[in-house]
């Protein structure tokens, strides 16, 4: 009955379920591959004592942390894009990553690793507060001003981190690690906390999917349709910052995931929030597990590469491709 009334929606649903199936299979495939490959060969089905301990105490928490970090960062990027009404927004361009990293670096140099999470959250929220204050006009949030404010906050936080790097002298490696990202310090607690934060943010996005779709129109349309637009933007900003802060606290700044993943899904034709939100999380998780797998297997003898270097390289190439292919669209040329 429903299908005869809304064939477009049925088609959308079919596409969504197919995509979920494909991305779900991709996640499972990358998850199994990530568990089976690494610095040490471990037989997944008949591991010896050492192999079992490596799997359970090192590799599994690491793969889970990478997965939830990827999901969280991709979702935060998507939420920032809804708030700013700009597909170029993500945790990088809004300053959330850099301000969370500033908190983390300060904590690392002054108080040690235990203060990392609260300091990152505090850093991200302070950055967010600055963005909100700059971009608010009589209770309204101005998306373009917000994006510019985000860039300013990002620049300021990056400059402060550079100063700390300079002052840190020989401790600079720890600071640099936070700027390039990695999942070496994974454990089940961290993975669990990110899963919980990601799960809550995902549930929120699913529940607010119709409102999110309406924010894609102009403000008047969204407001006249009963969407509490300004509150929604604040909530999305808060969730985006929280997701970013948790991820940065545990694995450092990992750029471009929040930009690439929603972009690719939109290019594939997923525009409705009810599809875009869960697919972004799922795809982000697979993307990050893949990046981490490459980071810890490309070099011989257990050497690692910083994950952020790989995601930024992939992100840079992707944007180069987009610019080359779509420059006419971008500049509205005939």
């Amino acid at each position: 009955m429903g299908s005869s009334l809304s064939p477009g929606r049925d088609l959308d649903n079919r596409r969504f379920f197919s995509a979920t199936g494909v991305l779900g299979l991709l996640w499972v495939g990358v998850f199994v591959l990530s568990l089976s490959r690494g610095a040490v060969s471990v037989d997944l089905f008949h591991p010896d004592e050492l192999g079992r301990r490596i799997l359970l105490e090192v590799r599994l928490p690491r793969v889970l942390l990478a997965s939830f970090s990827g999901g969280a960062l991709a979702l935060s990027g998507l939420y920032f894009q809804y708030v700013m009404q700009n597909p170029l927004a993500d945790s990088f361009t809004t300053g959330a990553s850099a301000s969370a990293a500033l908190g983390a670096v300060l904590a690392l140099l002054a108080a040690g690793e235990k203060a990392l999470l609260p300091a990152s959250v505090a850093g991200a929220l302070l950055g967010l507060l600055a963005v909100l204050r700059i971009a608010s006009l009589r209770g309204r949030l101005l998306p373009v001003t917000m994006l510019l404010a985000g860039i300013v906050v990002n620049t300021f936080a990056s400059a402060a981190i550079s100063l700390l790097k300079f002052l840190a002298d020989e401790s600079v490696a720890s600071v640099v690690f936070w700027l390039m990202g990695g999942f070496q310090n994974a454990d089940y607690f961290r993975a669990g906390l990110l899963a919980l934060t990601g799960g809550l943010a995902l549930a929120y996005g699913m529940a607010r999917a119709p409102a999110l779709d309406l924010t894609a129109f102009d403000e008047e349309t969204a407001l006249s349709s009963g969407v509490p637009l300004y509150r929604l933007r604040r909530e999305l900003l808060f969730l985006g910052a929280l997701l970013t802060a948790a991820s940065v606290a545990f694995s450092g700044i990992i750029g471009f995931v929040g930009l690439i993943v929603p972009h690719l899904l939109r290019l594939a034709g997923f525009l409705r929030a009810s599809a875009l939100v869960p697919l972004t999380f799922l795809f982000g998780a697979s993307f990050m597990m893949t990046a981490d797998l490459l980071a810890r297997t490309l070099l011989p003898q257990g050497q690692e590469l910083p994950v952020g270097v790989l995601t930024s390289a992939l992100g840079g190439l992707f944007f180069l491709y987009l610019l080359a292919r779509r420059k006419r669209d971008l500049y509205e040329m005939d």
Binding site: G38, R53, D169, A173, R296, G302, Q303, E304
Partner: protein, 261 residues
């Protein structure tokens, strides 16, 4: 005001060394060598920020970011610098002063650089004496029935260990051990699972500027399966290629001996 104070300091330092060399040491591990060779306070006119061997010398920044303007103002005759990475050739070319590179990676190279430094400073006999005393010290190293397998942690976040191009690698070797990380680099960013698989008998972790307040390895989630004996050492004693490296070798050798008893 600052310029005036700096000028005064430079003037005073200049007067005191009117008849000696004016030396700026940009590699902290070299300062104790100069001291041991008998170079007096007044001759070393500049040192890096945390170098305490010559307290009257002007601080000229860190060894990675020295202040070239300040160094030039000190009018040095000799610059004792570290690797080309820390003090590139372009920077060296800016000075008329003689450049002495002090960047040894083994104990033997330390001894060779001490002799070379003695030549440059006109203190050949002092250098020979110092080398002889250090060789005598090394003779205290007792042979072990078999090499002890070791991994040396440089930093916990990120997890970096000493590779084969590190002075620590040679300290371990001479002390009777074997660094299991044979990657030809100074520091190696490594996977914790690789360390577990290598199963070193001894896991050494340094504490110092590069590894501030690290959690003891066995309290870290990824090292619960680590069965190695854990040894905590001071970074300044082990990771700097100076006179300290010889006492570090003796200490490590004694530790290895207690393990194999």
């Amino acid at each position: 005001m600052r310029t005036l104070i700096l000028g005064l300091v430079l003037f005073c330092t200049g007067v005191s060394v009117a008849f000696g060399l004016r030396i700026v040491v940009l590699y902290p591990a070299a300062s104790p060598v100069l001291r041991a060779l008998g170079v007096p306070d007044g001759e070393v006119v500049g040192v890096t920020r945390h170098d305490r061997t010559y307290p009257r010398a002007v601080r000229v920044g860190s060894h990675l970011r020295p202040n070239l303007e300040l160094i030039r103002a000190l009018r040095p005759d000799l610059l004792v610098v570290g690797s080309r990475r820390a003090f590139p050739e372009e920077a060296a070319r800016r000075f008329k002063a003689r450049i002495f590179r002090y960047d040894p990676r083994t104990l033997e190279e330390i001894l060779a650089r001490i002799e070379a430094l003695g030549e440059v400073l006109g203190r050949r006999r002092e250098a020979e004496d110092l080398v002889a005393s250090l060789r005598k010290k090394l003779a205290e190293v007792k042979p072990l029935p078999r090499p002890v397998t070791v991994v040396y942690e440089v930093s916990a976040t990120p997890l970096k260990v000493a590779g084969s191009r590190s002075i620590v690698n040679d300290i371990i070797r001479v002390a009777g051990g074997r660094n299991l990380v044979a990657v030809p680099r100074k520091h190696v960013l490594i996977s914790p699972e690789r360390i577990l698989a290598l199963a070193p008998e001894v896991y050494i972790y340094q504490v110092g500027p590069m590894n501030r307040n690290p959690l003891p390895p066995k309290r870290r989630p990824y090292f619960r399966a680590l069965k190695s004996r854990v040894l905590r050492v001071r970074e300044l004693e082990f990771a700097r290629p100076g006179l300290n490296a010889f006492s570090a070798t003796i200490k490590l050798n004694r530790f290895f001996l207690t393990l194999q008893k």
